[in-house]
């Protein structure tokens, strides 16, 4: 006689899952902290970065997947290497110095490439990196090499580069620098911008086969 088995009761399915590291979604912030950012702009920028951290932290998957790195200029300085937001403690930025955008972009791209290499060496999957430049001026250094690096990287689908101009930014130069159309920040709406960025990062870092870099509309914070 067949043994009696309760098909409703016997455990079915396990919670023992493969222990794969979460895929990572790198986000590189290149932030202008030159003298002209002093006062309200730098204060709003600092609060905006905090908003980014808080927003990403509240999302179960984004908090495990999105890694933020921060480079400030000038002079060019790595403020924070790639970390998931739980370990991202942005220092309060102060404004002084010039605007070496060329050097900051080159360093940012180099760090993104290194980060990908680290992922690959550790068997960690990753999403397309985003590089975000925020400036209220124009480059005070040679930016021809940076332009070429951005063009090559975008053409090879290595990263997505976005330039955001704050009031006073040389939008003509940003247009030449960035393959994507630069966007002009409305007033000092850094908070709205970083809310948009965190929502976009959540979208990028959630699984969506075949998704190209499809942006949320930059509503609210951009002068269109």
């Amino acid at each position: 006689m067949d043994e009696y088995i309760s098909f409703e009761q016997v455990p079915f399915g396990s919670e023992d899952f493969a222990d794969n590291p979460e895929s990572r979604c790198p986000c590189m912030l290149l932030l202008d902290t030159s003298g002209s950012m002093g006062g309200m702009p730098i204060r709003e920028l600092n609060e905006g970065i905090q908003t980014l951290k808080n927003e990403l932290q509240q999302d179960a998957l984004a908090s495990k997947r999105v890694e933020v790195s921060m480079i400030t200029f000038g002079p060019v300085s790595l403020e924070s290497d790639f970390q998931t937001v739980d370990n991202f403690y942005p220092k309060t930025l102060t404004a002084n110095g010039d605007t070496p955008i060329g050097k900051a972009v080159a360093m940012g791209i180099d760090m993104v490439n290194q980060r990908k290499q680290t992922y690959r060496e550790n068997g960690v999957g990753y999403y397309k990196p985003w590089i975000i430049l925020i400036t209220d001026g124009g480059p005070t250094d040679d930016w021809s090499a940076a332009t070429r690096l951005i063009q090559e990287g975008e053409a090879a689908n290595k990263f997505a580069f976005f330039a955001i101009g704050v009031d006073g930014a040389n939008m003509d130069v940003l247009k030449k620098l960035s393959v994507r159309e630069p966007l002009k920040l409305k007033g000092l709406m850094f908070r709205e911008f970083f809310l948009w960025l965190s929502a976009s990062m959540k979208m990028v870092s959630s699984k969506n086969p075949g998704e190209q870099t499809r942006l949320l509309p930059p509503s609210g914070w951009a002068d269109l």
Binding site: D2, I5, F7, E8, V10, P11, F12, G13, S14, E15, D16, F17, A18, D19, N20, S23, A60, L61, G123, G125, Y126, Y127, K128, N157, V204, S206, K207, N208, P209, G210, E211, Q212, R214
Partner: protein
């Protein structure tokens, strides 16, 4: 009843949040053969998140694949590479015609496609895009038919409709019979496969197959089939993946 099969496609939490439907699809058919044998045909598909008609593409790709494969089985096809490729081309043509009817670019119907045809003395596997097919040996040890390869980025893969020449179509035909097999879409890949060692995470399947092995009636499989929905939509799985997920399991007596 030779083949015992259960399979479900369950919506992911990110799709619920964004008001999307489930864009995975799965289906199977058991075809009686001579000598009291049975052929088992099964396909699953994952519609691309960016495609407007992802759900319909996945559904149609799966149903058409089953229909065409069943026709091959019934016509006693030898299932050589050519006939299997022709099957995939027919599905491609069907999906392309749907896009034409809707007057949208064909990539609005992007979806992956993977499945198998199991005969008593022949096993046929095919796959385009991510997701995985794994088979169990007599000791209940599971190995992937192919290791799934995404593009450089985690959220990119290849789709049936990408290219009429189907350059990314993988086909495998063996004379080895299969006793146990599982098909799943990429939503479960991170849970069921170990990336570092490129191996199947055995405990995932060891907690599912034993009960299916013991099923002897259609009532048993139907209970397990509804328990599979509970499992796939449960908190433990949703904590690890927000994507749609499909799992189909088959075990033969």
């Amino acid at each position: 009843m030779i083949w015992k099969v259960i399979g479900q496609s369950v919506i992911g939490t990110s799709h619920i949040q964004t008001g999307k439907t489930c864009e995975d699809a799965s289906s199977f058919r058991i075809i009686p053969l001579d000598n009291d044998e049975e052929a088992l045909v099964a396909f699953v598909s994952d519609g691309a998140g960016s495609a407007a008609f992802a759900a319909r593409a996945a559904e149609e790709a799966v149903l058409k694949s089953i229909e065409f494969a069943a026709t091959l089985v019934e016509s006693e096809s030898k299932f050589e590479n050519g006939s299997i490729r022709a099957l995939a081309e027919q599905v491609y043509d069907h999906i392309e015609s749907l896009a034409m009817d809707e007057q949208v670019p064909k990539n609005e119907f992007s979806c992956t496609l993977l499945g198998f045809v199991l005969l008593s003395k022949k096993s046929i596997f095919l796959q385009i895009g991510d997701g995985a097919i794994i088979t169990g040996d007599d000791d209940g040890f599971f190995t992937p038919v192919w290791w799934p390869h995404n593009g450089e980025y985690q959220n990119t893969t290849t789709f049936l409709i990408d290219d009429p020449n189907l350059p990314n179509l993988k086909i495998k035909v063996t004379d080895a019979p299969v006793r146990e097999i599982a098909l799943f879409t990429d939503g479960l890949q991170m849970l069921a496969l170990n990336n570092e060692t490129e191996s199947v995470h055995q405990p995932f399947f060891e907690a599912l197959f034993p009960l299916l092995r013991k099923a002897t009636t259609s009532e048993h499989t139907s209970i397990l089939n509804s328990r599979l929905i509970d499992y796939l939509s449960g908190n433990s799985i949703n904590a690890r993946t927000d994507d749609d997920k499909t799992l189909l399991l088959a075990s033969r007596k």
